[in-house]
Amino acid sequence: MLHEPVTPSGKDPAGPYKQRLGIWMCLFYALFYAGFVAINLLSPLTMGIIVFAGLNLATVYGIALIIVALIQALIYDAMCRKKEAELEEIPAQTNKKGGA
């Protein structure tokens, strides 16, 4: 029984690169998140220390977790697009040489 995706996605030469990059970026963020959870569990009073503009570590770290997620997402997208463009150019150049 055929059960293919609604829209066929074709080959993705950048797939392995994106997968590796995704895992590393996910691990980086997981460590950042784990640091937040660990401080809460091991030294909860540290979260009350004022660190910036009258805000405590809990507030700054919490908001940073949200902002860093977005920054990482944008970096990931930029790197994926760059790689996809690079790998799209290679077959195009090969075709040109073959045709000449």
Binding site: M1, H3, E4, P5, V6, T7, S9, D12, G15, K18, Q19, L21, G22, I23, M25, C26, Y29, A30, Y33, F36, V37, N40, L41, P44, L45, M47, G48, I50, A53, G54, L55, N56, A58, T59, G62, I63, L65, I66, I67, A69, L70, Q72, A73, L74, Y76, D77, C80, R81, E84
Partner: protein
Amino acid sequence: MAIIVFIAFVVFVVGLSFYLGSKAKSSSSYYAAGGQIHWGVNGIAFAGDYLSAASFLGICGLIATVGYDGFLYSIGYLAGWIVALFVVAEPLKKLGKYTFTDAVDANYNSRGIKLAAAISTLVVSICYLIPQMVGAGVLVEPLLGIPHAWGVIMVGVIVITIVATAGMASTTYVQFLKGALLIVFSSILVWVVLGRGLSTQPDQDGKVTFYQYAQTQASSNDGKIAAEGLEILEQVDVKGGLTFVRVNHQGQENWWYASNTEGGLTLKESQSVVVKTDGKWINGLPESESNKLRPVGNLEQIRGQKQVETSSLSIFEFLASITDEDTIVRTWKSASFTDAANNKVIIYYPNDVPGDRIMRPGLKFKVEGTLLERLDFLSLMLALFLGTAALPHILIRYYTVPSPASARKSTIVAIAAIGFFYILTLFMGLGAMVNGSMNPADSNMAAPLLARSFGELLFAIISAIAFATVLGTVSGLIVAASGAVAHDLFDRYLQIKMDDRQKVTAGKISAFVIGGIAIILGILFKGMNVSFLVGLAFAVAASANLPAIVMLLFWKKTTARGIASSIIIGIVASLGLIAFSPELYSLYGLNPLDAPIPFSNPGLVSIPLSFITLVVVSLLTHKKNT
């Protein structure tokens, strides 16, 4: 005003649904919107799907009552999107067709996986549906003045109409609309909160008179409390070391809270609901239009100063003023007991907390408590981090875009929109905490009631959006659950021969049935904490689905039996641990201390157990399959 805006919004949403429904006839259109939704629209629709009643009503309500601990949900819910983006988004788009089952079964064509994954989708969707329907009832009750049950039925009927008319296409545009409006109007609400500034006597810009609660020093002789100027009629000691006294104060009877602190014994005027045979009595008088529970929530001190108000504040000044150690926040707690006349009494009593305590974790999650209490917190944070990428109604949205790159881009739009909204929840929740607008009996209405303190128009709009929040999320969940029944079970597992039109009809019939179940559950579970239930749905999803998705993508020895076993073990372990947890024992009316499972969040046990099951079963069955 509120009713007109609300009805106009609902009519528009249902009209849009019918219009889009006239265009959607095929099964790919019903289940996956034909895979042709633009990534930008899909990203905001992701936000619409994800920012459910738990986010808007639940988190704001939690922050308004327990401060920073409510914001932990915002952090965890957002962090989960990182797993979705980096690990799941593109591979899942490549693998699947309509449902979560399609993705995990793509390489195996296994009946075991189809059955297990379909059951998992149904269980997680229903766990997630219950709090949404409860939230709908809570919202409609004060807005339209109709009973909770009718509110739930109304939501159910509208949602079934939306889903049955056009499936994923109309659901997507409803989500897009709602997600965008939610973010825009939440921003406006935060802007006016900052513009109003802070006050120790919030009067909603002069619309209401601030009520100053009385308090007096007291003494205790052999456990019997006495206070000058107060006639004490009854004294009750309840579980947890709390003491309340029924007093005659200036000719009126009411219940007061006996607060025993380092400063001595103080009696504090409280609010009470006494259920008598002739009806409810509020604060010592029969309940009426003019005698209801007073709205609460204010600052007793701002940076050490009493009876002070500030001008408009920047975002930093607002947070720093509340965080200051010399700021005192008056929050409200509740307790219930039976009095000497055998009447049920519910008391809402003041609890003054320093600002620096409000703004760090620990008021709800006992991070300074016992090892088990700390592990419970760890378990919750783990489930929130891993749960998002395993929610079926989120996963199916990857099938609505045309390519894996679009799936990635729409996830990034979702992270931006959802992250921005979650930062706003901190301001909305704290705004509700200190603006004298909270209903002490129901924290879920914190954000809409905060909006009401700025006028009926903003309240009407925010309430309509909150209602659409419920509509949108319930629509997405019913599409996911109906896909599990009609597509995974009937079409693929039981292999009932159906043409394209019949598949759509099967999906619509399933949507009717699941919508009906959701209505019944929404009525039965009235009064349950919305955020708590959603947290449990995350734990079930992370336990049942995530190990299968991750190992399928990254471990070549994964077998069909390994996947099916891990899904079933994940469901059974997480639901089993929840069923015997202290929180559920309280709901059963049993003593939570008798619960055999000593923690409420199962993820720390059930997620690793599901992973281990997958690895062990895969290793045992690997040779047979190759």
